[in-house]
């Protein structure tokens, strides 16, 4: 991993069109500004990890068709 030292309001360029700016630093929080083309998706890493974790958990649960049928009826009743 490349590690660069940056001060508040200084930036890093990734390629020609992605700019990352340290907008502010307060204690252990860094506020980061990202300028990137529209087709580059920017998300906090926790969100990816959370969805991954949730998928893995969902894939592991045992479900029998009867259970789903009962749940389906419960939902339909509520509606």
């Amino acid at each position: 991993m490349l590690i660069l030292d940056r001060k508040e309001s200084q930036s890093i360029m990734i390629g020609n069109n992605i700019e990352i700016t340290i907008v502010g630093i307060r204690g252990d929080h860094a506020k980061i500004g990202i300028k990137a083309p529209r087709d580059i998706k920017v998300f906090r890493k926790e969100i990816y990890e959370e969805i991954q974790k949730s998928n893995i958990e969902a894939s592991k649960t045992k479900v029998n068709p009867d259970q789903l049928k009962n749940l389906g009826n419960l939902i339909k009743k509520k509606k």
């Binding site: 529209r38 087709d39 998706k41 998300f43 969100i47 990816y48 959370e50 969805i51 991954q52 974790k53 949730s54 998928n55 893995i56 958990e57 969902a58 894939s59 649960t61 479900v63 029998n64 068709p65 259970q67 789903l68 049928k69 749940l71 389906g72 419960l74 939902i75 339909k76 509520k78 509606k79």
Partner: protein
């Protein structure tokens, strides 16, 4: 065609049920082909079954069956799914099933979007930050909604 499933053993499915996920889904990035199966007629639940891995399958629900879901997605995702007409969009949310119904949760943050015309699917990240991966299924209905 025949597919081995986690829920029903080997079953016959139609080619139309095969959905191609170019990037897989989160945590299962290598699985590019899933089969979409109705849990049963009239049920709000669906199965997303990995075509070549019988043990990998997800229960999904149409979120509109129990909550007023607002789909807020990146224009890039729409492009990747090749969606030109809203009518082509199918939206599902993955359910984590538990024995106690009150422990069952639904992932509203990472919905699975399917283009019903082209059979392309993708799990996206909702831009709506109020959604989480673990909304209780039975709190969402019954008057409450995902805002709380």
């Amino acid at each position: 065609m025949k597919v081995m499933t986690k829920a029903f053993g080997e079953i016959e499915v139609s080619e139309k049920q095969r959905i191609s996920f170019k990037e897989g889904i989160f945590g299962f990035e290598d699985i590019s082909s899933f089969i979409l199966i109705d849990a049963e007629e009239g049920s709000p639940f669906y199965w997303l079954q990995a075509e070549h891995m019988p043990e990998i399958a997800f229960v999904m629900i149409n979120p509109y069956m129990f909550t007023e879901y607002v789909l807020d997605m990146e224009p890039e995702d729409l492009k990747e799914l090749d969606i030109s007409d809203d009518e082509d969009i199918l939206i599902f949310c993955i359910v984590t099933v538990a024995d106690d119904p009150s422990d069952i949760t639904v992932n509203l943050l990472g919905p699975v979007i399917i283009n019903r015309k082209t059979h392309i699917g993708k799990q996206i990240i909702s831009l709506n930050e109020k959604y989480q991966t673990k909304h209780p299924l039975f709190q969402l209905g019954g008057g409450d909604n995902a805002d709380s």
